[in-house]
Amino acid sequence: MSPSVFNFVDAKDKFTASAIHALAAKNGKQLVNAFNQIPGNETEKKTTLDQALRGVLGDQIVEQKASCDEYLSLIYLSIDAVTEGICSATTPFLLLGDVLDCLPLDQCDKIFSFVEENVSTWKSNSFYTAGKNYLLRMCNDLLRRLSKSQNTVFCGRIQLFLARLFPLSEKSGLNLQSQFNLDNITVFNKNEQESTLGQKHTEEKEEGMEVEEGEMGEDDAPAPCSIPIDYNLYRKFWTLQDYFRNPVQCYDKFSWMTFLKYSDETLAVFKSYKLDDMQASKRKLEELRATGGEHVYFAKFLTSEKLMDLQLSDSNFRRHILLQYLILFQYLKGQVKFKSSNSVLNDDQTTWIEETTKLVYQLLREIPPDGDKFATMVEHILNTEDNWNSWKNEGCPSFVKERTVDDKPKRPTRKRQAPEDFLGKGPDRKLFMGNDELTRLWNLNQDNMEACKSDSREFMPSLDEFFAEAIEQADPANMVEDEYKVVRNPNYGWRALRLLSRRSPHFFQPTNQKFKSLADYLDSMVSKLAKELPKDIPSEEIKTGEEDDDDNGDNLLKDSNDSPSIQSKMVTNQQMDDMAAKLGAQWKTLASHLEMKAAELREIETDSEDVDMQAKLLLVAWQDREGTQATVDNLVTALNAAGFSQIADSLSEA
């Protein structure tokens, strides 16, 4: 038996009947059953059902008895049918389109509510691709039918619906080229003949906005009475709207000049006329409501000259105008891919725009209530606009984040080392302190105290190192002046004292000599050291690591104490008395050989009149200066040099 032939008309009739039944029963099962029963392939059956449904709808419309609900039930049915897979996905949209085309606007409103409510359905996978173009076309048709000023809410709903339906990157919803609504022309009285000033008193009032109040109000009866009008401001003010309508004009030099002049004047008025009375604007708002009944939304400005004063004192009105300025400036300054190449601002224009932007924000902040908050919000919104602008310039890239595809499963790398490794038990036997520097330090020496004791931490200089310079300076042959001597440096002196206390026994030897200053004390120390630390015996200098300079001092002490030579003996007091007696007035001759300074000689002379005494004083001074070097030997040498060999001999013998 050959497969049954698909009979279109038959199928269509069956579907139609079944659909009507399904509607009545409010159950789509019947339709599904009918579909399954009819012979034929899927495609054929589907398209037939589409036709059938459209036919049912057409009949309903023609009868004009059906209500919106009935149309909607049919459409619901078709949606279910799509879900069941028995009908093409485009059918619900076609049905919607048909219904909206045939109904008057007030009923379209209800149908559209249905569309809005089911936006999630339209966005679902099965419907979206098939239906989006139909929906777009349908909405655009509706928008064309609607008046922007009369049906503002409906238009808004359609726009919002489109915004929800389409993803952000859907270009058909965008004003890609940043075009302007050039048709939005603001009409005002440019001509004297048209002005309301000459009109008769019988003219009807404008929508309750003619309530005269404020400074120029009148106590007369509310019959329309004329008030003085600032035509100058009126004309200039409303002319500005044309620049907002078509900003490209600003790039033309002459238009720009006019815009500049008029803007300056207008903004000066705003600046001069400060709004501070919130009560006044509240009052006006109440009156508006009272006369109109409900809150009326104006899509276009009212430009009667009589309203100018009232408008100037209205906060919202000012905010509108100031915001228009900011939007305009943003456009002029902005980078828009679709701007022509001569749409560029020159420097003067840029400067003026910057200054005026500051003024506009200041004015916005001053407008009560909550001026500051409003200004901040506006600034934020305009900044966000910049983002949208650059997004458009880049060709509207999609916002959907693509999931990155993993190629191969990677072995999980250890972020942290195993605990054993850094506790010194790992293969390196190193302790990781978590930081390279710390690790290095730790592994040098773990015990801080031990580390401090290591030789490399021995920073105290040796006596000869430290005093080398001072010793050299003390040498009169070098002729270093006193003030340049390093011993005069207090810093040096302090360190010298510390070093002497650590390394030199001279520090602890008691002395009669009174030192006038640290520098003088150091002078004497330095000379003592100079004698002790001979530099021309390098072999003594080279010592092993253990031996340090403390030994040097010890050696010296031993030397001076252990030497059996009489010549190395210290000169005694008795000896000095004897010598003084012998020297007498000749003590001065000896003085030069004892390397006494002229100042010291003078001091001796003033101290005593007696020459013997003076000689004694000389010897004492010498002894003090020399310290351990005040030996018999040295004195004998000096005496011989001075020519007092006899005295020298007697000293030696003693």
């Binding site: 120029m216 035509y231 006329y273």
Partner: protein, 320 residues
Amino acid sequence: TVTSLLHMSVFSQSFSPCGRFLAAGNNYGEIALFSLSAALSPDATAQSQKPVLTFTAHEGPVFSLLSTDCHLLSAGNGEISAWSWTELIKKNVKPLWTKRPNYNLEIPEINSMVMNPRDNSLIVGGGDNNVHVLDLERGVFKLVLQGHSDYVHCVSVREREAEILSGGEDGAVRIWDSRTGQSVHCIEVYKYESCARPQYGKWISCLTTDSDWMLCGGGPSMSLWHLRSLSPTSVFPLTGCQRQAAFHQDMILAVGEGPFLSHCLLGGEVKAQIPCTPQSLNTLQLNTNSTEHRVLTAGGSSDHIDVFTNLSYRAFSLRF
């Protein structure tokens, strides 16, 4: 000439009884007549802001102007002249009469005039330290109010109480009984600590009354006084010395040193200061004679007179 325009000062203003014209007096002794209807019309041009008539009224500066039902009274150089408004509008500049109070010594300037509608008299205050009262019906000076020790800056009238007020360089505001000519009160404003500004001086250059209230200012800060109790209720923190003030609805308008028109509230708060063209203002007038041309005009040390259609911003300026 251009230089004379530069040095021009407008000292006085007065609106015509019909409210369509403004007369302004300057320091050159000239009076200019401006057509408000022309300046306020939608097809006004720059020429509409120039005077329709300018003429020399006196030899000295025209410090004071005043309008009655049909006359314009001007004071300058110690004399008072009367002009017919109708004739002036027709550009006929012949004065109806010119009179002079009896002066003792030299001829002083006249600083201020005010009408007393009660008995149709003109109160005149000037440089001879006296306030003279001219009977307009009979044309004779009937009273001399003596008491100020220095010249009189400004005069005002309390019609209901039949009192004349005068403010002078000597710092006193004197209240006179207009029938007897006796000084009933003397307020030395500078002696009140709340108002006194010794750094400026003690003179009273601005004085205006509204039933029980009085505004006065000058060297001392402008202050609002309650006349029954003769005490200051509010002091206005305006820098500079005020030269003219007016009560307007529930606000006070004041002009003086400084290029602004100050709006003040009765409590003492300065609500707004609207920028004006002249650097310093001498005169302030509100046109109550016509609703169509109900503007505020302010003049001072400039040849420009600012016109306000809306009290909060300057709309345009008339120019001599």
